[in-house]
């Protein structure tokens, strides 16, 4: 029996498990998946929880619902990978040997990386919304909040879903308008980037949306610490921004197991070939999703496009062939912009988000870099697609490599 071990049963790991268990012969392959948690979270849904659009029940399902029969499932924390010995040590003292390894251990927020962030105001006036706990705590806070200074701050790049912070302030603008207190809420978007987004053309268009929605923008702000006593964030170059409520996107880092394995960079992300998705320096280890160090967005859509490429390359490699499929950095993100509308962006390593129609040139139904109701429906529909086809590894009607068709230069 050949052994495939998949580390991590989040979006990327679960997709790979389903895709590969469909094609690998059951009498030749033992597939094992490892995760420390039993609950699968629909992470794109966290954004909607503070605004009461979704609740906890909308974003959770048991992981076991998505594991095909015949899979060996191990619920345990990973101690470390020993790539030289082709084995993984688990915290439950088990040792798993493998012929091939797929690492999908993701990334997570680390508020403790910033001085004062997890201080006395944590979950009182300072919240994250990238965890279920943070999103729910913020939901409770907003129920009774009567207005003041709402500051959203991105600590440092890279972060999971780089559009989510923008969506958060757009939705906040809508939410407080509906609550009738928008005039009492000062919304401030504070980023270490030189603009509203990572890519220049989208940054300028999205920056205009911030303006239109009366949201203040401060750029190139690199947070050094949170001053809990005076409710201020302070940058390394000593600029200060006061807040009544701070919504932070803390530093994102890969799993500690990667650090323990000596396989990560300074943020515990794994050096990965940006085209083949193989771990650099190893010929039997693949990496997918947020766990990689690729210069692409950390997002479910990226993991989905990567899954198609990894699938092809995996089948090549186990047959002794060179991996031929090349990942192009494709990302596709629906950006909720509030008031029942959304914006769509589609881009890759080399092509920044451009205006146009998607996926059918000239037709759509979605519009790129424009605010439309249809784009919002796309986002709403996506949750259903996620639970019912995406993580089950089924094909979606979008090419894994980006297409220029329908885009305007």
């Amino acid at each position: 029996m050949k052994k495939l071990v998949i580390l991590g049963a989040g979006t990327a790991g679960t997709m790979m498990l389903n895709k590969l268990s469909n094609v690998l012969e059951k009498d030749e392959w033992q597939i094992t998946i490892v995760d420390q948690y039993e609950t699968h979270y629909y992470q794109p849904g966290f954004l909607f929880i503070p605004f009461n659009i979704y609740n906890k029940k909308d974003v959770i399902k048991p992981k076991r619902d998505f594991f095909p029969t015949g899979t060996e499932v191990i619920i345990s924390e990973i101690d470390k990978i020993e790539p030289g010995k082709n084995r993984v040590l688990l915290k439950n003292n088990k040792v798993l040997s493998y012929d091939y390894l797929i690492i999908a251990t993701g990334s997570k927020v680390k508020p403790e990386e910033t001085e004062g962030m997890k201080g006395e105001l944590w979950y009182k006036n300072i919240f994250d919304f990238y965890t279920i706990e943070g999103a729910l705590a913020l939901q409770s806070f907003f129920k009774h909040w009567e207005g003041g200074k709402l500051v959203l701050n991105i600590t440092e790049m890279p972060i999971k879903c780089p559009v989510a912070p923008l969506e958060f302030v757009f939705l906040a603008d809508w939410f407080f308008t509906e609550q009738g207190i928008r005039d009492k809420v000062d919304i401030h978007f504070v980023t270490p980037l030189p603009g509203a987004f990572t890519k220049p053309r989208a940054a300028s268009i999205l920056g205009d949306f911030l303006d239109k929605k009366n949201i203040n923008l401060t750029t190139e702000f690199n947070i050094a610490k949170v001053d809990n006593d005076n409710k201020k964030i302070v940058s390394w170059d000593e600029r200060e921004i006061p807040f009544d409520v701070l919504v932070t996107i803390p530093t994102n880092m890969g799993d500690e197991a990667i650090e323990r394995s000596g396989m990560g960079d300074e943020l515990n992300f794994i050096p990965t070939d940006k085209h083949t998705l193989m771990a650099k320096g190893y010929d039997n280890i693949f990496v997918i999703g947020d766990a990689t160090d690729l210069p692409s967005s950390k997002a479910g859509s990226v993991a989905h496009f990567e899954a198609d490429i990894l699938f092809e390359n995996f089948l090549d490699v186990i047959e002794g062939r060179d991996p031929k499929a090349k990942f192009d950095g494709h990302a596709n993100c629906f950006i909720e912009s509030g008031f029942g509308k959304g914006i769509l962006i589609d881009f890759n390593y080399d092509t920044e988000p451009l205006p146009g129609k998607f996926p059918l040139p000239g037709v759509g139904p979605f519009s790129l870099l424009e605010e439309t109701k249809m784009n919002h429906y796309g986002k709403v529909m996506f949750r259903w697609m996620y639970w019912n086809s995406l993580i089950k590894g089924q094909e979606l009607p979008i090419e894994s490599n980006m297409s220029m068709a329908g885009k305007r230069l």
Binding site: E156, E220, N222, W236, D237
Partner: protein
Amino acid sequence: MSTVEVLGKQLELDADGNLANPEDWNEEIAKELAKQEGIDELTERHWMVINFMRKEYQEKGDAPSIRKLTKQSGVDTKELYQLFPKGPAKKAARIAGLPKPKGCI
């Protein structure tokens, strides 16, 4: 491709405005690039960072991020921001004649 004139020479730039050909770089050019970034004089501490960056780039093929600089260059984050205001990793890479660090996406 755009170019920049430094000390009477036209040097090619990449899409981020950093030197396209690292071999065009020398210490005199670094001083000029620093002036364009608003840094009038490169002190010994600046050079410590620049030299660390160049060494890392030669060894690893990628300019180091601010985190790596803080951990390994011998200059802490606070001072890095004093030496290279606003974006230490990005600015120091440009002055060092290197491409923008990959982490700055």
